[in-house]
Every structure is written in structure tokens, then in C-alpha cells.
């Protein structure tokens, strides 16, 4: 094993940056999954509300929540990519 390789291995061992990255990725995937599940529930709800009355405040509330969740998902995905 060369000196550089040894130093890399020691750095990996002590710094644990890769382990941290993997942990962060796993966490973000979990969050995205949870948010996606919530989004799909809300999409069903939005459809139902739209069928009842597309001008109702209930429908608009669900729509707003959907927009927020979609934004959160795309932020989480971007963070995962950056990481």
C-alpha cells in the first residue's frame, strides 16, 4: 500500500465524510419518500374536492398544500443531488 493510499484510508477512517454523506443521502431519500406519500394522498383528496366544488375554499386549501409539498420535494431532491 502506497503512502497516499494509506493517508486516504486514514482520512476516510477518521473524517468519516463518506459515511456522513451516505447517511445524509439515506435520510433525504426517506424524507422524499414520506413527502411523496403525503403528496399522493393529497392528490386524491384534491381530485375528490374538485369533483364536489372546484371553487370551494377546501379545494384551494388542498391545492395550496400540494404546491408546498411539491416545492419541499424538489428542494429535497436538489439537496440530495448536491450532496
Amino acid at each position: 500500500m502506497g503512502t497516499n493510499e494509506l493517508i486516504d484510508k486514514l482520512e476516510d477512517y477518521f473524517d468519516l465524510s463518506k459515511k456522513k454523506q451516505r447517511k445524509k443521502h439515506d435520510k433525504l431519500v426517506k424524507i422524499i419518500h414520506k413527502l411523496e406519500k403525503k403528496k399522493s394522498r393529497l392528490e386524491h383528496k384534491a381530485l375528490r374536492e374538485k369533483e364536489i366544488d372546484a371553487t370551494s375554499s377546501r379545494y384551494h386549501d388542498v391545492e395550496r398544500e400540494l404546491r408546498v409539498i411539491s416545492k419541499l420535494i424538489s428542494k429535497a431532491e436538489k439537496k440530495d443531488l448536491d450532496a
Partner: protein
Amino acid sequence: MLSRVIAPLLFLVFAWFVVSNNDARTIIAGVAIFLIGMHYMENGFKLFSGGALETVLERFTGTTPRAIFTGFLSTSVVQSSSLVSVIIISFLSAELIGLTQAVGVVFGSNIGTTTTAWLVSAFGLKIKISAYALPMLIFGVVMQFSKHVSYKGIGSVLIGLGFIFLGISYMKEGFETLKEGLDLAEYAMGGYAGVAVYILLGAVATVIIQSSSATMAIIITALATGQIDYINALSLAIGANIGTTVTAAIGSLASNQNGKRLAVAHLIFNLVTALFAVGFIYQLKDLVEWLAPYLAIPAGDDTMRLALFHTIFNVIGVLLVVPFLKQLVNFLETLFRDDEKARGRAKYLTPEVMEIPATALAALRKETIHLYDKSVEAIVHAMNLHRTEIFSDAEIDEVIERSTSPIKINVDEVYQSELKSLYGEIIEYASMSQTYMDQQGNNEIFELKQAARKIIEMVKDVRELQKNLNFYSKSHNSFIIEQYDKLRAELVEVLRIIQELRENDFDEEDVLTRVEVEKVNAKEREIAQNYEVDALIREHKIDSHSASSLINDITFAQSISKKLLTCAETLWVRDEEMKELGDEYGYE
């Protein structure tokens, strides 16, 4: 007088004694190395546990037997009753556990300290532990170079163990060579006079050394080398138990009420235990003799018999005191009452836990929530609202209608007398504890500091708003009154959502989504209200002076809502990754 003349004189005598007496020097060096080891072990566990010790102590103390067992187990593992006590005091202050559980943990911790005697007598004297000490020191030092806090912690624990082993080895060596020139066993004293003298010696030694574990190590090594008599060693062990109480009592003088309560509980426990042990020392000795063969303790092994005696009399102490635990807790609560007047003081920030990252963070979070609650109280009163109404089932319009008369509150005065000092304590504590945190801990502290700053800014915002609110509430112009009522309704809405999130155990993603949705709602309400004000100006329903005040106050009210929601995210969304998804910067 004491510090100027007697203390230096005593130090000189001690120095002369150390320099002139070779054997005593080896023993004292052993004690010193042992104490350094204890110090490293304690610091190592603070870093290495990463909150595990705190989690165990918080979760497994539901009933008294569990609290006692947890106290025993945690002290046996970390080998430091003072570390366990410090964490317990901080939990008590943070109201994470009750006084009954805390006292239970302290009792269990007392039994846990007796494992030191078992370790020293079973391993320290039977095998050449100094041979293990050096590799431990080497690996411990290597691990200190790690960037990771946990590895540093493990390194410190290894260094600690290495020094403890080395210390025991030095003590043993010192006593063995001392025996060749001076036989301390010649000074052995029989009967109850001997018991009293040796109890006093044990107590004084522990007060001086400030560690009952170190005293026990000395007693066991001295006993192993035949320098002291067995019955005198038993008396010394009782004395060490009393001595440690004195150390804890002195330490608690500077502590808060909870620290004092636990110190007195500890004192009472140890005095009862010591009185019992003294009264029945010969019967306890017989009990040890009877039990020893069942525990595979070889005949003639006095050091392990001493360890057994130490454990037995502490267990009996627990059995004697536990039936009166309720009375003891009542007595302690009466003896040290909570200071109700300390309104502007921190409730949860105990300096003793500043070096324990997870506990310091939990305390800081609790204190920031305390600041939040006190500030919200001032804010809602300044807006002529009552929290009971806000958090009732009534419709928001009803709440606003019912709360029209101005509430007499001087926000400036509340800020100066209660909030400013509390905020100052949070900032100081956060800055001090930051030095012991890793990157993630530092990030969390930074967020909590930001939240505390926002809370204070909200109070300053409401101070400006209150003047106009009270002025226009007496106005005959129903349009302007309606607009100010909208601002109050906005506050009620936001506070209700935050309260709902606090009271219910929602998933983190639900909390974040609710807060983010409410941020969007608040933004939309701000835009809509500004349109309404424009219309009122155009239709000459409000004059320009009122309009300018109203526009400013809409900004203040919106600023309060935004800050409330941002603080809610910091305080009640725990997952760092989840929290980072919050739209704070884009939103502001």
C-alpha cells in the same frame, strides 16, 4: 488566614513529605495517576456517549426500582457517580424526570460506585494490569487525533483506563516496598474505637482526594499488601462513603435548588447507611463470611470480601431508605422551595452540563421554548388577547370580539425585567457550550440562538404595534378597527396552529408542511390586507395618517407571524435535514 498561611504551610509539609519519603511518593503518585485516569474517563464518556447515557437515564427511570437499577448500571459502566449526578440534576432542572426518580438514580448510583472495588480487587490486584495500561495509553492517544468526537471520546476512555490501571499498579508497588521499612498494620486498632478512628480517616482521605473510588483503590491495595487490618479496612470503606457525601454537599452549595435537593438526599442516604454499617459492622462482617463461598470468593481473599462488604452495606442502605422515599422527597421539596420570583431567570440552563453536548442542547432548546412562551404571553397581552381564549374552541371572530378592552401591560418593562436577562443567559450559555460541540451541535446552537433573537425581535415589533392598536381601538372609525382586528385574528390563527403542532405528536413532515403552508397563507393575507387598505384610502374611508400607521402595523404583524412560524420550525422540527427544507430565507 487559612488560604494565606495555613494552606501554603500544609503544602510545604506535604511537599517535604513527598520528596523525602520514596515509598509514600510512589503511593501518592499512584493516587494522582488514578485521579487523572478518572478525569479522562469522565470526559471521555461525556464525548463518547453522544447522548446515549442521557437517553438511558431519561427513558429508564419510570419507576423507583427502574431508576435505582438504571443509576446502578450507568454508574457501573461509566465509573463516575459525579457524571451521573450532573446529568440527573440537569434532567431534574429540565423537568425530564421527577425528584423521586432522580433520588432513585442517586441511590442506585451509590451501589454502582461499589463496582470500582470489585474491579480493583478482582482484576487490579490479580493480574499485572500495568501491562495493559501502556497499550491502552498508546491507542487512546492515537484516537485523540481523530476528527470524530466519538473516537476522541473512546480515546479518552482508554487513556483514563490506562492511567487508572497504572495508578493502581503504582499504589500496590508503593505499599509493598513501604512494608519492608514500615508496617502500618502495627497501628491497627481493634474494637469500636478502631472503627471510629478508621471511619474518620476514610472520610478525611475522601474529602481531601475528592473521590471515593480513589480512596477505595488505596484501601484495597493497602489491604492486599497487608498494610491494614481487614476490620479497619471495612471502617475505612464506611468512612469513604461519608467523605464522598461531604464532597457532594460542598459542590451543591453553588448549585441550583435541584442540585441541593439531591445532595441532601445523598447525605441522608449515606448517613443512614453509615450508621447502620457502624452499628452492625461485626454482623455485616459475618454476613460477608457466610456469603463469600456462594460467590466463589476464595478463602483468605480479604480484598474481594471488602468489595462484597461495600456492596452489601450500600444495598442495605437503599433497602432502608426506599420505603421512606415519598417522605424524603416531600421533605426535600419543603427544604428547598422553588423561587417563584425568579421570573427573568433561566430554568433549565445548568452550568454543570455545559460540557455534555446532547444534554446542553436539550437544556438550550427547553430554555428557548421557555423564552418563547414568556414572549408570547407578552405579545398576546399587548394585542389585548388572552391565551385561554386563543387556545379555546371558540371561533377566531368570537375570540376577537370578546377581547376588546386594552390589557394593561408595559411591554418595555416586561422586556427589561424578564426577557432581556433570560435572552442574555441563553446567548451566554449557547456561546460557552459551543466550544464543546461538534459541527452538527454548533449548527443546532446557531439555529437556537437565531430563534431566541427572533423571539426578542417579535417583542420589539409588538411594542410598536401596541401603541397604535390601543389608540385606534378607541376610534369611531369602524373600518380602521376592523383592520386592526384582522391583525389580531392573524396572530390567533398562527398561534393556534403552533399550539396544535406542540400538543399533538405529528410526524415531522406534517409539522413542516403545516408551518410552510401557514407561511404561504400569512404572505397571502398580507398582500390581501394591503389591497384592502389601498381601497380604503381610495374610497376615503380612512385618512392618510391612519393609513400610514396601519401599513406599518401590517408589516409589524406580518413580521411577528413569520418569526413565530420560523421559530416553530426551529423548536419543534427536530430532524436537521427536514428543517433545512424550510423556506426561511426565500420567505424572508
